[in-house]
Point group: C2
Chain length 297, copies 2
């Protein structure tokens, strides 16, 4: 009994350690499955062929309401179907058209030297109309194009973007080496943000508000808006305007507030748009040949 | 002393509880910051204006190597710059060209009724060449277009996609209501996967392998590949071909294995491509007017 009395504190300590260990372990397990992003809802059957590590972003976001086939929203199922018969070109015409568009688009380059020369607003509107023809998950059209031509707003945008870029570059330099400050500095100076006649800030709408006031998640909103931006780039190239595709780091919330966009919108891209400067240059890059990007089966 | 001896186990228990509690708390804090996806590296200064809830996906992935300005990779900084002077159209021509492309693209629709009529492969190759002109983060060109025309492979793809779609639909029905089985069934039957002359499976390369064997993360790979798909849709429309943008749920790993794609590639989209069937119909959808998608400042 005396021995037991002496051992009691030891036993208590051991018991506590075991309980504590179990607690920590259970938290760890929960953390691991959550941070890997492979959330599997309880309703989902376990399917052993799924390689958990290989799950795509598109799969992570899969919810019961979601549909892999974008156009088949519930609303759309109830819509009247109408005949669709676009032009059927002869093969020779198809070939010619396909070559012509390739030639045009292959001349596209990201250009950082933009002329201040004004650009007709109607052209910009048509370019954005064209971007708005993109497909989107459940036809939500989850995009807002904020076109900034006001010099003061452009300058505020520049200030916000450059401040963040400087922080990014200084961090990078701290981690690596400081060899050419002047050269790096040119990377966070974005003159084109003042100079370009238009800044197009592309926002993705992460959710919408239904008539009953409920939120409706816009699945695939980032993919949809990016597709729309691809069409926008084609439309710009088609009229001889240039841009550079940028995704300003950490500036989204500040720019959203500056431009008074609602909370469901998040900045995806910032595109300065204009004619190229007369002395514009681009890095002498090559594109991958067709065989490196296509596989025929 | 006797009192102390009696209290010892109690003290030990309290001490253990305190230690256990602190351990759990510290884990919890780590978990919270990790699962919110707002990982802030120790080098990052705390910047109070950042609304944590509003951080974008693009910001979550921010790493020291990353750059908001896509074209300014380290390699590119060292590249020779060459003059760039694309055509400068008169304003009237610009306006006309912008209208023409809008008219063309506004006729684009997602079409699920595809004709089995063969399509010249050279046209498909040019369309993919065109998609390959898209910009990409640090010019990584992180896309692989797998073009499947082999009937057996197409059928295997159909089997995989339909199996998954059926699981998805049955789950949805289980959670909501079962009103029209026949109608729902049409949603997971994807005849076009057999019928379309080509299935284009678009893979994003999440990382690349450097000459020294190290992995190189492809930042913004999903946005880049989606932009490329936008250009691909424009190129298809330009030659009179149709497709429907699909992101098959949970099929990525199976399809990747079927098509023998490496581990760094993940399926982003599956596009059946061909002429529209002669009796093709589309839901009578409208697009948002310009004023709903653009904001001028």
């Amino acid at each position: 009994m005396a021995l037991l009395s002496v051992l009691t504190p030891v036993l208590a300590v051991v018991l506590c350690l075991v309980i504590g260990f179990m607690l920590v372990r259970s938290r760890e397990t929960a953390t691991t499955s959550a941070t890997q992003g492979n959330y599997v809802s309880p309703e989902t059957d376990f399917r052993p062929w799924v390689d958990q590590d290989l799950r795509d972003d598109t799969e992570i976001t899969a919810k019961e309401d979601e549909d892999g086939d974008w156009a088949e929203s519930n609303e759309e199922e109830d819509l009247l179907h109408v005949p669709y018969s676009p032009p059927h070109y002869p093969e020779e015409t198809m070939l010619e058209r396909s070559k012509d568009l390739y030639t045009l688009m292959n001349q596209r380059r990201s250009v950082r030297f933009i002329s201040p020369e004004p650009v007709p607003r109607e052209v910009i509107d048509n370019v954005i109309r064209t971007a708005g023809t993109a497909p989107s998950g459940a036809h939500t059209e989850p995009w807002t194009f904020v076109v900034v031509s006001d010099p003061e707003t452009k300058h505020q945008i520049r200030r916000i973007v450059e401040e963040e870029e400087e922080v990014n570059y200084r961090q990078r330099m701290g981690n690596k080496w400081v060899n050419d400050l002047a050269k790096l500095r040119t990377n966070w100076i974005k003159e084109y943000l003042d100079v370009a006649p238009y800044l197009v800030l592309v926002f993705k709408q992460t959710y919408g508000i239904l008539p009953n006031g409920k939120k409706r998640t816009h699945y695939y909103n980032e993919i949809s808006v990016s597709i729309s931006c691809g069409i926008l780039l084609a439309a710009l190239q088609n009229v001889g305007l240039v841009t550079v595709t940028t995704t300003p780091l950490n500036c989204g919330p500040q720019l959203r507030l500056l431009l008074k966009r609602p909370a469901n919108e998040k900045l995806l891209m910032l595109l300065p748009v204009g004619y190229p400067a007369s002395d514009a240059t681009v890095p002498d890059l090559k594109r991958k040949p067709l065989d490196d990007i296509v596989v025929h089966i």
